[in-house]
Subunit: 103 residues, 2 copies
Amino acid sequence: MIKVSVLYPNDAGNKFDIDYYCQKHIPMVQQKVGAACKRVEVEHGLAGGTPGSKPAYVAIGHLYFDSVPAFQAAFGPHAKEIMGDVPNYTNLQPIVQISEVKM
Amino acid sequence: MIKVSVLYPNDAGNKFDIDYYCQKHIPMVQQKVGAACKRVEVEHGLAGGTPGSKPAYVAIGHLYFDSVPAFQAAFGPHAKEIMGDVPNYTNLQPIVQISEVKM
């Protein structure tokens, strides 16, 4: 199982509409990529590790797929449309990471 | 529900023993914090978002708790011992983020 994580850095002046992200963007992504996406997770940053510190990321979204090829096959045909929705909820440039799920 | 994420940056010269992390460190943390920790996740970085790119993080661990106070109460008394195990699997300084679980 692999996890595609999309991390939105907590840069100064950032805008991030978590409600739009959860209620519109992620459901749209799920509808586009279909059953290849086994699970989604979204978290909203609260704090860093030390008292009073800011979170490194405003929000992080995770999509689970069986494999990297399964992700590419499902996401590729819809990438342009999915990426085109990003300005509707944020002015940030996300970091994307693909990971193997170990636990 | 909150998620405490521990992100290990993929710095040059990094060492990270994913087997030790999954088989020794995380089980030790779970044993110390007890039932307050509702779930754990570990992922091992494979790639970035563009072809051939490296992952931003070597590994990421996530611990779920009911609330920030529940995490602090469970983790605080064992923080020194848990942090003392870190050099056994990595030479990296992790980024810690606390987030609210939205989906």
